[in-house]
Amino acid sequence: MIDKLDSTFRFYQDAANLRAHRQQLIASNIANADTPQYKARDIDFNTALQGALTGGGPAVTLATSASSHIAPAAGVSGGAPLLYRSAVQGSVDGNTVDMDVERSQFADNAIHYEANLTFISNQIRMMQSVLQG
């Protein structure tokens, strides 16, 4: 029963975590809008969510320096691969942050995050009404 409850919430939890991560990435891009040579970065949300749900993504394994070290049974999934945003209009100082793109993505991601929270709340309310009858 408990694992079913867990799997019910897991999708939204993973999605919320990824949305928060992406929000932070875009925040870094906007903060570095005037930094020379800074390259704007982002994740592909679709791939990242698929990776988080199936346990894919780049695996992080422990470094072993001696033969007696025990290798971990399964690598820990390291989340989404970071990509570089291709510049719409290049700038002289090598910066690839396009403020229009970043601002719209920031707002888009914030709305998706809020929607996700609403879904979680609804799910919890549904589970509570089932449990309480």
Binding site: A27, A31, A107
Partner: protein, 142 residues
């Protein structure tokens, strides 16, 4: 919680933009200072931004590795030549009657000021959005 990092990132950017605005104010205020504190004509100053990594050092695998704030790495002096103004009555005039005036380009400084102000506003709005999201997160399950 990566949403909290937005406050650090936006905060560092606001500090950097504030410093840039300060330098612009200094340049504009001294646009006509024929003598600065070192006895030479005032030279325009510019800030140089640099991104700083806040999170872990594990590279692309770490969730926090991509969060980077901004800091001012150095303040450089504009090396463009000083403006020579013909004013024989000026106390700092040389034999030919020319005075070396600061190399501050007022138009450039105004543009820089607007750019810094806009970037600052962007960061404030970013912080507000992050705050709204965090407050909303606190209401889960209520």
């Amino acid at each position: 919680m990566s949403l909290f990092n937005i406050f650090t990132v936006a905060g560092s950017a606001m500090t950097a933009q504030n410093q840039r605005l300060n330098v612009v104010a200094s340049n504009l205020a001294n646009a006509d200072s024929a003598v600065s504190s070192n006895g030479q004509p005032y030279k325009a100053k510019q800030v140089v931004f640099e991104s700083t990594h806040l999170g872990g050092q594990l590279g692309g695998a770490n969730a926090n590795s991509a969060s980077s704030g901004v800091r001012v790495s150095s303040v450089i002096e504009d090396q463009s030549p000083l403006k020579m103004v013909h004013d024989p009555s000026h106390p700092m005039a040389n034999k030919e009657g020319f005075v070396a005036m600061p190399n501050v380009n007022v138009v450039e400084e105004m543009v820089d000021m607007i750019s810094a102000s806009r970037s600052y506003q962007n960061n404030v709005e970013m912080m507000n959005t992050a705050k709204t999201l965090l407050l909303k997160t606190l209401t889960i399950g209520q």
